[in-house]
Symmetry: C2
C-alpha cells in the first residue's frame, strides 16, 4: 500500500499541515529563511505529523490542537535533520546542498536550535503540561544521543544495547512524542495513552532499523549518498551486527574499519558482502518483530479507519524502498 492511500483518512488535515508549516518557518533573517524553505518546503513523508494527528482520533479532539502538535513534531524532526547532516558531514539532503555544506558548524547547529525553539513555542500554545514536559524530555533525549554520536558513536565490539539506546534517542523518542502527545490531547485513558506510547516506541525502532538497512540496500541515487555511508563513517548498525555474528567474513569488518581510508576497495567489497548476505533479511525480521509489537499495542483501541491507518503505516515503514 502506498503512503497516500494509507493516510487517506487524514488527507485534509495533512494538507493544512503543509500550509501551517510554511507559516511556522517564516523568519526575517534571509539566510535562515532560505534554509528553512529548502528543508521544509522540499517535502518529506510527514510521518510524524501523520502519527500525531492519527493518535488524536480515538476521542473527540480540538482539530486545531491536533494540527499544532503535528507541526511542532515536524519542526523538531527538521531540526534533527540539520544536526544529523552536520554530525555525518553529509553534503546533500533530498538533492539540495545541506546547511552544513554552506554554513559554519556553529551556524548550522544554531539554525537547528532556532527550529527547536519555534517548535517549543508552538507546542507551548497547546497549554498542556504533560505534552510540554514530554516535548522537553524528547529534546533532551535527542541532544544526549547526538552528543554521544558526535563523541564517536558506536565502538567496537558491536553492542546491541548501545545501538538500541542510540536509535531510541535519535528516532523512537520523537515517534513517542507524537503518539503519546496525540493520545494525551484527545483525553484518552491511561491504558490508551500507554498503548499509543508503546506503538510509537516500537514503530520508531522499526523505522530506524529500516533506514539502517536501506543504507546498505538502496541505490546511491535514491540515498543521495554513497551506499554503506554509516559503516564508512564507523557507525555500526544492525545489519553489521548480524554479519559479524553469522558470516565467516565477519572478522573483516574490524580490520577494514582500522584502515585509514574508509572509501577504498576493501570497504566497497565489505559493503557489497553485507548487502548480499542474510544479515539483511535477519535485520528486516528484527524490524518486523517491532512492527508486530507496535500493531499489537493498537488492539485495545476502537477498530476504526484511523487504527487501520496506524496499522498499515507500521507495515509501510519496513516495506518502503526510500
Amino acid at each position: 500500500m502506498d503512503i497516500n492511500s494509507i493516510l487517506a483518512p487524514i488527507q485534509s488535515e495533512l494538507q493544512t499541515v503543509e500550509v501551517r508549516l510554511r507559516e511556522a518557518i517564516h523568519v526575517e533573517f534571509e539566510p535562515l529563511a532560505n534554509v528553512f524553505e529548502t528543508l521544509i518546503g522540499s517535502g518529506g513523508k510527514r510521518i510524524r505529523p501523520a502519527l500525531s494527528v492519527l493518535s488524536t482520533k480515538f476521542h473527540p479532539t480540538d482539530p486545531d490542537k491536533a494540527l499544532t502538535l503535528a507541526i511542532s513534531t515536524e519542526l523538531v524532526h527538521a531540526a534533527t535533520l540539520i544536526h544529523d547532516d552536520l554530525i555525518d558531514k553529509s553534503p546533500l539532503r533530498r538533492g539540495s546542498p545541506t546547511v552544513n555544506s554552506r554554513w559554519s558548524g556553529t551556524a548550522t547547529v544554531l539554525a537547528g536550535d532556532f527550529l527547536l525553539a519555534r517548535a517549543a513555542d508552538i507546542a507551548a500554545s497547546l497549554d498542556n503540561f504533560r505534552v510540554m514536559r514530554l516535548f522537553a524530555r524528547t529534546l533532551m533525549a535527542i541532544c544526549d544521543g547526538e552528543i554521544r554520536q558526535d563523541f564517536g558513536g558506536a565502538h567496537w565490539p558491536p553492542n546491541r544495547e548501545a545501538y538500541y539506546r542510540h536509535i531510541d534517542s535519535k528516532t523512537a523518542s520523537l515517534f513517542v512524542a507524537c503518539t503519546e502527545s496525540g493520545a494525551i490531547l484527545s483525553s484518552a485513558s491511561e491504558d490508551e495513552i500507554t498503548a499509543l506510547r508503546d506503538f510509537g516506541h516500537n514503530l520508531g525502532r522499526a523505522f530506524q532499523i529500516a533506514d539502517d538497512i536501506l543504507d546498505f540496500t538502496a541505490d546511491q541515487r535514491a540515498l543521495g549518498k554513497p551506499v554503506g555511508s554509516d559503516l564508512r563513517q564507523g557507525t555500526l548498525t544492525l545489519p553489521v551486527f548480524y554479519f559479524v555474528e553469522q558470516d565467516p567474513r565477519g572478522a573483516q569488518v574490524e580490520e577494514t574499519l582500522q584502515l585509514d581510508a574508509h572509501d577504498g576497495p576493501e570497504m566497497d567489497r565489505l559493503i557489497e558482502a553485507i548487502r548480499q548476505s542474510p544479515a539483511i533479511a535477519a535485520s528486516k525480521a528484527e524490524a518486523r518483530r517491532h512492527v508486530q509489537a507496535a500493531q499489537e499495542s493498537l488492539t485495545i483501541l476502537p477498530n476504526n479507519s484511523y487504527r487501520q491507518a496506524l496499522h498499515n503505516l507500521a507495515n509501510y515503514v519496513v516495506d518502503r524502498t526510500t
Copy 2:
C-alpha cells in the same frame, strides 16, 4: 553596595538555588557531567535567579515555583555561555578551559542544547502557559541573535539599531524572561507585569553595555581574555560608536579592522586610545539612562525590601568592576 548585601532579602532562596542547580545538571554521560559541573559549579553572580525570585515577591507566590523559575533561567544562561564561547573562540571562562577549547564545535553546541532542553523541562513543570511561551520565545530570540553574530555580527559602518537588536536578543531577552515570568507566577496585575518586564528589558541593556565597557576598561586578569577582545574579533560595541563619532582618530577604527592581524600594535594602540577616551564615560552615561528607566518602572510596585533590592541591583550592574 556589594552584591551580597543587595541580595540579603533573598539569601536563603539563593542558597537553595545552588543546591537545586546541582541536582538539575546531573547527567549520566560523564564527559557532559564534567562540563556542566565546571560551568555551573564554578559560581557566577546568579543575577538571573535573583531577578526571578525578587520578581515573584510582590504577591504571595508558591516558593517552589519561584525557585523552579530561577533554576531554569540560570540553565538557559549557562547554555548561552557555552554557545558564546564557541562563537567567540574563547579559550577560558572563569579561569577554566571552555568546552569549545576541548570539544568539537558540534559537541559544544549540543552540550548547550542539552542544558536548554533541561531548562525547558524544568520550566514546563511550572505548568503555566504564559511562562512557557515566554520561555520558548526567549530561546528563539537568543538563537536568532547568535546566528546573526556567527554570520559576521556587526558590520561597518557602526549601526546603533543593530547593536541594540543584538544586545536585546543576547542579554535583555533573558532578563525579561526572568522578571516577566516572576511577575506572572506571582499573579501580579497586568500593569505590574509590564513594569517588571520593562525593568528587565532596561536592566538587561544596561548590563550588556556595562559588559561591553568592561571589555575595554577591565584588566586582562579580571577579564580572563585580552583587553578589547570584542573589537579584535570585529564586533563593534557602544564605546566604539562614541569613539568613531567623537574622536579625531575615529577613522582609524575602520582602517585597523581592515588589517589582516587583529592583534598587532595598531590594534593595541587603538584599544588603548578608546580606553582613555571620553567614549567610555559617554557609554556609561547611556547605560545609566537605561538603569534610570528600569528604576522608574519599579515605582508602581509596593515599596518593600524586594523593590529596594531590584533598585540597588540596577545600580550594581553598571557600577560593577567584574
